[in-house]
Amino acid sequence: MMDRPSIHPVAWIVWATSAGFVAFVTTDPVYLILLWGVSWFVYASHRVDLEHARSFRLFLTGAVIAVALRTALVFFGTVSVANTSFSFLEGLRLGTILVIFGTFNAITDPFGLVRMAPRHFHEPALAAALALSIAPRTVAGVGRVREAQRMRGIRVRGARALPALAVPVLERGMEEAHTLAESMDARGHGAGRRSRYRPQAWTGAALLIAVGGVGAAAIFLAASVGGWAVLHPQTSPIVWPQTAPLLLGATALLAVPGLVGLAEP
């Protein structure tokens, strides 16, 4: 087991927001596919444990399905190279945002984020953290139930195994929520008090991650507003995307987390 890298959670929020913003403002396949590479590299460098790895794989599958579905929508209308590539690029953008979200999910502890929220926003932050963590917790729950079933010799394949899988997973989710609520109540949450137990420090690595993210987003924002680079390549007639070196550099800035603040082996 690796030690949990002590990167300030806000740095990860900044990174994920910036990467998501970059994916949002462009449909250029060069930047988008590069963002998949960036996400993969950052995930590989900072993943917390195997349960989170499963959640990353889930988002990766979801992203591929999103791209395929968005492209397949074309077949309901007239099919041409122009609108198929246009749909594919739109789908690729959606898939990229999903992959970035999956990476964020796999490398952060959502409940660590709750501690960062200002007092008045504590409850919305808690709701957000619960929502953020639902995918990895469900994936982890499914894994545990399957393992238990396998140990008892229950065949886990097939659609008929689904109820046998779903019921314990949902039950477990309820139990976890109860435990969480009770433990929070016991620690004085909701009473206006907050514990300041072991506050997280801003390290140089966290600062680099945040600055890299903001820088990348700022460059793409400038390109989007200033119009000095093509962010949405023409699809009709289809042309090779004209990749701007500055925007490539900005995308590379988002890979900074893969180089700094690694857990000590």
Binding site: W40, Q234, P241, G258
Partner: protein
């Protein structure tokens, strides 16, 4: 020695021929342009006027169906008369014509300047199109115009020069007086002697599309407009006409290769990270 002399002699000749060929290829489209294509074909035709703000070009486009969309009219003009174009929003919107307009998929990237879409009434009058070019229908004898400029409606957007269908698609002297208004409201001269099976319902045209051009001055805009069937006028427009496809279409640039290298490095780096962390785990 003699060989050297001939090479020395041959070089300027070859260079001159090259320059001549280049000049010819630059000036040819401007000089002859659409005329041969139009002269060679009969059947339904529509006029396409492209006003870049510095010059106007007009095309007499042979239609490949009874009616086509405004987008397809541009594609036909591109195929028949080398009009360069770029569409956005998955081929629904017009971004770029004759080298003017944004390069990408976002047609409003140069806003407030954009391509305004007009329909002609056939006698030089223009109305602002209420529908997009992908859904607009263009039939025989119709006029479509695209004007680069700012202004969100027909009241403020610059208008195309006053052109009728006969200024662009010049008809031969009519042999029959039976003129009838076409479905699109364009009054065109019909020639009953040249009815073809492929012509749509409505007026039929005489086949002589390629009449010699006679220059005339445009009363409304003051621009010098040659009454066509081919290209017109300003040197800027001629230069635009001669320019090839946008640079992005030539092939993947160095940026794409750089991106490929970067992507490969990221993927490989990630794989190495995962492998090393797995080894640590199995060691522990």
């Amino acid at each position: 020695m003699q060989a050297v002399a001939t090479t020395l002699l041959r070089r300027p000749v070859a260079a001159a021929m090259l320059v001549g060929a280049a000049l010819l290829s630059v000036t040819m489209p401007a000089a002859t342009g659409a005329a041969p294509a139009c002269a060679a074909t009969t059947g339904p035709h529509a006029a396409l006027v492209v006003d870049t703000g510095v010059g106007t070009r007009s095309f007499c486009v042979a239609l490949d169906a009874t009616t086509v969309s405004g987008i397809h009219l541009i594609e036909l003009a591109g195929a028949q008369d080398q009009l360069t174009y770029g569409f956005g929003s998955g081929g629904q919107a017009v971004c770029r014509l004759a080298g003017v307009g944004p390069q990408g998929d976002d047609c409003f990237a140069d806003y407030p300047d954009y391509w305004g879409y007009w329909h002609g009434d056939g006698h030089g009058g223009w109305t602002w199109s209420s529908s997009g070019a992908a859904s607009a229908r263009v039939g025989n004898g119709a006029l479509d115009a695209w004007v680069w400029g700012s202004g969100d409606s027909g009241a403020t957007h610059p208008k195309p020069p006053s052109l009728g269908i006969d200024d662009v698609c010049r008809t031969a002297a009519t042999t029959s007086p039976s003129a009838a208004p076409s479905p699109s409201g364009v009054a065109a001269t019909a020639s009953s002697s040249t009815v073809r099976a492929s012509t749509p319902p409505g007026p039929t045209r005489a086949p002589d599309w390629g009449h010699p051009a006679t220059p005339r001055s445009d009363p409304s805009g003051g621009r010098s407009v040659a009454a066509v069937p081919s290209e017109r006028s300003t040197p800027a427009a001629a230069a635009l006409a001669a320019q090839g496809p946008p640079p992005g279409s030539a092939g993947p640039g160095p940026g794409v290769l750089l991106a490929l290298a970067l992507g490969a490095a990221l993927a490989g780096g990630g794989w190495l990270r995962l492998r090393s962390s797995r080894r640590e785990r199995s060691d522990a």
